[in-house]
């Protein structure tokens, strides 16, 4: 297994502050988004769901695909699950 195979989530764009889990990551398990980067998951991150790569303050934009997909409704810590409970998108 090379280092690349150990990465368990995908950072789609360099500007993103969330990554997508490519496997289920258990609470306390290591989040490994990029080579040489590892931090604990604060809760279970189901496969396909987003994990915060950095702290995202309340009201700050959440970025995926290098674009804003919504805003944090509470302070989000690195390693936390990011979903509808702490992110709100704009009305179209």
């Amino acid at each position: 297994m090379g280092e690349k195979d150990d990465l368990n989530c995908i950072v789609i764009h360099a500007r993103d502050n969330v990554a997508v889990a490519r496997v289920d990551i258990e609470a306390g398990g290591a989040v490994r988004p990029r080579p040489g980067e590892s931090f604990p998951a604060l809760e279970r991150i189901p496969c396909g769901h987003k994990v915060a790569l950095v702290g995202i303050g309340m009201g700050e934009p959440v970025c995926k695909y290098g674009e804003i997909i919504g805003y944090a409704t509470v302070d989000i810590a690195p390693g936390a699950l990011v979903h509808t409970h702490n992110l709100k998108g704009d009305e179209p």
Partner: protein, 389 residues
């Protein structure tokens, strides 16, 4: 992808466009004569019937449907066409034929009410189609550049991974083709809702930006008109469970299959783009209607990403299925052409994109896609927004 050939073997048409198939299309101008078109298709090897449910009983869409049938006949994959009319329908068979003939292709027209009923018309049409297949089978494939490609982009039966694996990988293929001078058409306006400002920013000029915003705003308004307060839930469907948190996120996952280049123009449903490069075609999210619009707009190949899996194809355009997960690829192997799910298994996006591009070139060069092998051409569904009368 850097090491891939930038050519494939295609058929050069009299208007300079390049086909990846050499079909003789049998085009009924109204559904009432679908059976006649089917008879011709059964009798003549190499003939493909464009079976559809339209041609009469509409006011608003009749021009659009007439244009779409003509556009399918004018598609570079069609070498010649036999148009079969009834005689009293709203769509004008001669107009459809003339638009196909403009491209320098052989076209014949038969009307059931003028040629002695269904059986006699089918016999005459079959004779014409047989002669056409004979003549056109002499055409040979020659080496053509990928700059002659117009890729249709489609996603259907999406899952939460479509926007992570299959769509971004297809986006790299689109960038590769567009950078070489080719074209791609992004459609499904409903799946752009929430990203109007992002797409508008990528428009090559102010007028295109305004058109992009209008197409997406109209799609949102239509969704609200039809679905009312349910609109946001239906637009961002069950894939919330899969980890999608907002409409913008879902739509970004859809539009990333169009890569990252600037948007050169916005066109109506089924309209052949005047500009090359990446363009947007206004159209519905329903796969079947969307693919008919792409075929009419002149796409020779449709790259179709799917997460839950669909076997759907199109009669005269090879549809290349790109699976978003390895699980789907294994579960529906007979219907899937390329597995992009390996992105989730750790394979680099560029490598996956290279495999999609390579398979696409093989299929453009004549190898059948899975949907073609399986005979999944199906019925041509055309977009409509008003009821028939």
């Amino acid at each position: 992808m850097k090491t891939l050939p930038r050519t494939f073997m295609g058929y050069v048409r009299p208007d300079g466009s390049v086909g990846v198939r050499n079909h003789v299309a049998i085009i009924p101008t109204v559904a009432c004569v679908n059976g006649v078109a089917r008879m011709v298709e059964r009798e003549v090897g190499g003939a493909v019937a464009i079976i559809h449910g339209h041609g009469c009983g509409r006011a608003v869409e009749i021009g659009m449907h007439q244009g779409a049938l003509a556009g399918i006949g004018a598609n570079p994959n069609v070498a010649g066409a036999v148009v079969i009319g009834l005689g009293c329908e709203t769509i004008d068979a001669d107009w459809v034929a003339s638009r196909i003939a403009e491209k320098g292709k052989p076209v014949e027209v038969y009307r059931v009410q003028e040629h002695g009923g269904s059986l006699k018309t089918a016999r005459k049409a079959a004779d014409a189609a047989r002669a056409m297949v004979g003549d056109l089978s002499l055409l040979e494939r020659v080496e053509c550049g990928i700059d002659s490609l117009v890729l249709g982009l489609e996603c259907g039966g999406s899952d939460a991974f479509s926007g992570v694996s299959a769509n971004p990988a297809v986006g790299l293929v689109v960038d590769w083709v567009v950078d070489a001078g080719g074209s791609a058409i992004l459609t499904e306006s409903t799946e752009m809702i929430g990203t109007a400002h992002i797409l508008a920013r990528r428009a090559h000029d102010g007028e295109t930006a305004r058109q992009v915003e209008k197409v997406v705003d109209d799609a949102w308004r239509r969704a609200q008109d039809i679905l009312g307060p349910l609109a946001p839930f239906v637009v961002a469907p069950g894939n919330m469970d899969g980890g999608i948190s907002s409409i913008s996120e879902k739509s970004l996952g859809c539009i990333c299959k169009a890569g990252s280049r600037s948007i050169q123009g916005v066109y109506g449903y089924g309209t052949r783009p005047e500009r090359t490069g990446l363009v947007i075609m206004d159209g519905p999210g329903y796969d079947m209607e969307s693919m008919a619009g792409l075929a009419s707009a002149g796409c020779q190949v449709i790259l179709f990403t799917t997460g839950r899996g669909t076997p759907a194809g199109f009669p005269v355009v090879p549809v290349v299925k790109v699976a978003s997960t390895s699980r789907l690829f294994a579960a529906m192997e007979d219907d899937m052409d390329v597995n992009a799910g390996t992105v989730l298994d750790g394979e680099p996006m560029e490598v996956v994109a290279g495999r999609i591009a390579a398979r696409m070139l093989e299929i453009a060069g004549g190898q059948p896609s899975k949907a073609e092998t399986n005979g999944m051409g199906g019925i041509v569904c055309l977009y409509a927004v008003t009821p028939s009368f």
